[in-house]
């Protein structure tokens, strides 16, 4: 089964490390994929809240393009950014459930010579790795088990809500299960789907910083060495504002925040460059990992 890959804008900007690590991991696991041709902006959460129909049309163009690219059968479209994942998923579900919406959107797409027939399954890469490729197969490919590393998995909100797809809406565990087969130790904490503030850090910054502070402090308090995310905006918020939070609230927060695909890559034996490690602000100390060439340990 070949996957189609929808990068979205974040993975080409703030979340480049996510794309680099994701593609490297897909390649090393021999999971076949190709990028969606001529994809466009998903519209993110902002467009949906202004005009739902227009937003659906924008997102549905990507779904119709996917059908054009894969003429037969069901298409698994990987959307790594949580916002893209949610918007594309919502469009897919609405077009399936509401014939009047489908008709309206298709009449718009028709003008551009496109049509959506309902063959696309929007998938998050976490779901693909854990449920399609399988934890057992990942275990077999792990070269450097991340022994002793304590990981706080942070899922954010959009991947699990409001649609229930591959995990529980309030207490997901897929990333924790993945972390375990990588040899690390998942930290149990109750804030794994609590809001990171989203775009608040750029608008009402005080509110945004307050939310991030709660998450970071609790992860540290529970003994996590690193926080893992599956969304470029969550990663950006949690990683980049630590200094500002410390100044504002008189804290001493200092915890690395990486993409789950980066940690996967480390365990699978990929190089620093392949995983975009140099793009992180904070490097986790991974003395426990003994790489034969010493390369990885130094990188971290």
């Amino acid at each position: 089964m070949k996957y189609l890959y929808y990068p979205g804008c974040s993975l080409r900007s703030t979340g480049r490390a996510y794309e680099e690590s994701l593609l490297s991991v897909l390649k090393v696991l021999d999971i076949p994929f190709e990028e969606l041709n001529d994809w466009n902006c998903c519209g993110a959460t902002s467009y949906v809240s202004i005009d739902e129909t227009d937003a659906f049309a924008l997102a549905a163009r990507n779904l119709a393009l996917a059908e054009l690219q894969s003429p037969d059968g069901t298409i698994n479209l990987i959307a790594p950014c949580s916002a893209c994942f949610l918007v594309l998923l919502k469009t897919e579900r609405y077009l399936e459930s509401y014939p009047d919406v489908r008709e309206k959107i298709n009449s718009t797409l028709d003008k551009a010579g496109l049509h959506y027939h309902g063959r696309v399954n929007v998938r998050h890469p976490l779901d693909v790795f854990v449920n399609d490729y399988g934890l057992e197969n990942i275990t077999k490919r792990v070269k450097y088990p991340l022994k002793g590393l304590k990981v706080a998995s942070y899922y954010g909100c959009q991947m699990v809500r409001p649609f229930k797809t591959f995990d529980h809406s309030h207490y997901p565990e897929t990333m924790d299960r993945l972390v375990k087969v990588l040899g690390a130790e998942p930290v149990d904490w109750p804030l794994k789907t609590r809001c990171c503030g989203g775009s608040l850090t750029g608008t009402i910054q005080e509110a945004g910083l307050r939310l991030n502070r709660l998450l970071l402090k609790e992860a540290e308090k529970r003994g996590a060495d690193i926080m893992l995310t599956c969304c470029p905006l969550c990663q950006h918020n949690l990683e980049c504002y630590q200094e500002r939070i410390n100044r504002k609230f008189d804290e001493k927060i200092n915890i690395p925040v990486a993409f789950f695909t980066q940690l996967m890559g480390v365990a699978l034996g990929l190089s620093e460059k392949e995983l975009g490690m140099q793009r992180l602000f904070k490097m986790p100390s991974l003395k426990q990992i003994t790489h034969p060439k010493g390369e990885m340990a130094n990188a971290w």
């Binding site: 529980h168 809406s169 309030h170 207490y171 149990d188 904490w189 109750p190 804030l191 709660l214 609790e218």
Partner: protein, 670 residues
């Protein structure tokens, strides 16, 4: 004999009912009546305000005699309501009741349409269809089957116990089957009962021993129904009696064997204490278990696992009651009626992971707390938490697995009241501060609201709002080491964080895990949520769609003890009606096989949902048991050689009816 068959001239009487304004306000009944009068075969056509009234029925009887009518049609409400009424009237008038036909112009016409002209046309079409149909009606005989006087009751909770005692006291022989080693059900596990706060065991255990000692009750515990055959009045049941490995005749329940078991301490979670304590492989569920007979659990007993146990239990028993060679036994019984009282299961709280059950040791389910506060419970009634502490603050979360579209949508009806009761008991035992987090307090029952008032006076806190989460996420020093309940207090519009030592989840009531298997075995229906379906939600609450099978208690839907007992009494009364009338009348709308045309292909055997069809292997033909046939018509449609016909639904009747609807003259009536 009721006369007037197919040979003579057909003389139809047609009656259209106003049903007050129900029909007459939308259908021009006069126009319909006049139109029908013009059709061939119709001798009388008239309208009347209430056909179901005594004068209405007498009108039919009078006309049958005066005008020698031999077909009667009434256009009124649904046959479900009054078909029986009119058939009886027709029979009193001296005509075979199956010459009667009913047209539903209320539910199918006046109640669902607003355009009078169109509605009147539809009423005419339906009536004309009936006129053409009755030409083909035949005289049919009602059949009767005898009712075996014995009753099977499945499930020995409070509903089963009450139904068994009611029937036994009325002199009927009852088989009470319970799959656990003891009867008593959930009620035996409860501490006190709301709103009177009398002890559950004190009011239940006398009834349990009455069951054990009643000469008319045969009690088989540790037993399950394996097979159900037959039909109303004549059920043949196989009961699987699981081996206890203890001879029931010999054991007196002295428990010496339990004491002497090679296990010095229990190792297996004790079912009766919901896993809060451990039991040995040889055990009695609780002190008042009925029957008071020991049972050996072969899954955990060393003798069964290795065959090399010292068998100290055998040595300890001076009555030689322990028998490791005991085998499963199948008992065959015959009964006429069955009452299902199979109860419910509590909602699995780990399905709501954000309430932390199974993760935080001090989160309990309500059923666990019942045991925890009980004097014969795992802690002797002392409220010690799993981490050894005594709680100073307790939060009770209502509607866990109820009124929630992510889990179960229904209200479990008992949780509000038992939460109030537990709040009272927790305060009594510990003097803790108790917080109730509720959506609505549903205290609808005799003296229930007063009990709620009493709790308010006892300074129990009530916070209206569904709880978002229970966590150990402390943000203030005062919250360290506590469980924090986060909920929106919808009465004052703020989000509250309440740190507590103990959380009680008021878990809802669900159908038993195997309710679908039981449903199939007894050939009854379930409602969408999986509870057994009653024949009518208001007027036949303990009947099922299968004659002779009744339901009572929480297997029909969540209910408390008083309601379960009331239903159990009702189910017993329904069974008594059948038993004491001695026989039951069967609808003659059954299917029959035209023997010459049957090829013996077995198609009908596999599709009959009531297992009413068998195959006569000597003749190689299908045979339909009229007592089992419900007249669904599936076999009639499926038979490839058209060899199966159905009374009241013969091809010519249906086709004439269709012709009538399409305004085509049917050949027979011209």
């Amino acid at each position: 004999m009721h006369g007037n068959g197919h040979n003579g001239t057909v003389r139809i009487g047609f009656y259209i009912c106003h049903c007050g304004h129900n029909i007459a306000s939308i259908v021009d009944v006069k126009a319909v009546s006049e139109y029908i009068k013009s059709l061939s075969g119709v001798v009388i056509s008239c309208e009347y305000k209430y056909m179901c009234s005594d004068p209405g029925q007498e009108l039919i009887q009078k006309d049958i005699k005066e005008h020698s009518l031999n077909r009667i049609i009434v256009a009124s409400c649904s046959p479900l309501l009054h078909e029986h009424t009119f058939r009886t009237a027709v029979e009193k008038g001296g005509l075979n009741p199956y010459y009667f036909q009913m047209v539903n112009i209320r539910e199918d016409v006046s109640w669902v349409h607003t355009d009078m002209k169109a509605a009147t046309e539809k009423a005419k079409d339906l009536s004309r269809a009936a006129v053409q149909r009755v030409f083909h009606h035949k005289s049919l005989e009602t059949k009767h089957v005898k009712i075996h006087p014995d009753v099977l009751i499945v499930g020995g909770g409070i509903a089963g116990i009450h139904a068994a005692l009611t029937l036994a006291n009325a002199g009927k022989k009852v088989y009470l089957i319970e799959r656990n080693p003891t009867i008593g059900g959930h009620m035996a596990m409860f501490d006190k009962t709301f709103p009177t706060l009398d002890c559950a065991a004190c009011i239940l255990t006398p009834k349990m021993s009455q069951v054990k000692n009643h000469p008319n009750i045969i009690l088989w515990t540790y037993s399950e129904v394996a097979k159900v055959d037959g039909y109303v009045g004549n059920y043949k049941i196989s009961i699987r009696r699981k081996p206890r490995y203890v001879n029931e005749e010999l054991c007196v329940g002295c428990m010496d064997c339990i004491e002497k078991c090679v296990y010095k301490e229990g190792k297996t979670p004790d079912e009766f204490n919901v896993g809060l304590s451990k039991r040995k492989p040889i055990y009695i569920p609780f002190p008042q278990a009925t029957p008071q007979i020991v049972v050996i659990d072969r899954e955990t007993c060393i003798e069964f696992k290795s065959g090399r146990c010292k068998k100290t239990c055998v040595e300890a028993c001076d009555r030689k009651a322990i028998d490791f060679k005991q085998k499963e036994e199948i008992k065959e019984i015959e009964v006429g009626t069955i009452i299902l009282t199979t109860g419910y299961q509590t909602f699995d709280a780990s399905r709501v992971p954000f309430y932390g059950y199974g993760k935080y040791p001090n989160v309990y389910t309500s059923l666990e707390v019942e045991r925890l506060v009980n004097a014969s419970g795992p802690t002797g009634g002392e409220l010690i938490l799993r981490d050894g502490r005594h709680p100073k603050t307790v939060g009770i979360i209502h509607c866990v697995g109820s009124r929630d579209k992510n889990t179960n949508r229904w209200c479990s009806r008992t949780c509000c009241m038992y939460s109030l009761k537990l709040a009272h008991l927790l305060k009594e035992h510990t003097d803790a501060e108790v917080y109730n987090f509720y959506i609505d307090i549903r205290a609808a029952g005799k003296s229930y609201e007063e009990f709620y008032d009493k709790l308010l006076d006892e300074n129990v806190h009530f916070i209206r709002g569904r709880v978002a989460e229970v966590s150990d996420w402390a943000v203030r020093p005062s919250e360290e080491g506590k469980l924090i309940i986060r909920a929106e207090d919808t009465l004052i519009g703020i989000v509250r964080r309440v740190p507590v030592d103990m959380v009680v989840l008021a878990v809802g009531m669900e159908p038993q895990a195997d309710s679908q298997d039981v449903r199939r075995m007894f050939n009854i229906s379930c409602s969408t949520e999986g509870f057994f379906l009653e024949r009518h939600p208001k007027l036949a609450p303990v009947d099922t769609f299968t004659d002779g099978i009744f339901i009572a208690g929480a297997c029909q839907g969540p209910k408390d003890i008083p309601d379960s007992v009331a239903q159990a009494g009702a189910a017993a009364a329904q069974a008594l009606i059948l038993i004491d009338s001695g026989e039951i009348e069967l609808e003659p709308n059954t299917a029959y096989v035209v023997q010459n045309e049957c090829s013996g292909c077995r198609t009908c055997l596999t599709i009959c949902p009531f297992t009413a069809i068998s195959r006569d292997e000597a003749k190689q033909k299908a045979f339909i048991n009229e007592a089992l046939c419900k007249g669904c018509g599936t076999c009639v449609a499926a038979c490839p050689s058209g060899a199966i016909k159905q009374n009241l639904f013969e091809d010519e009747m249906i086709f004439s009816e269709i012709d009538g609807l399409l305004k085509m003259e049917s050949p027979a009536c011209c």
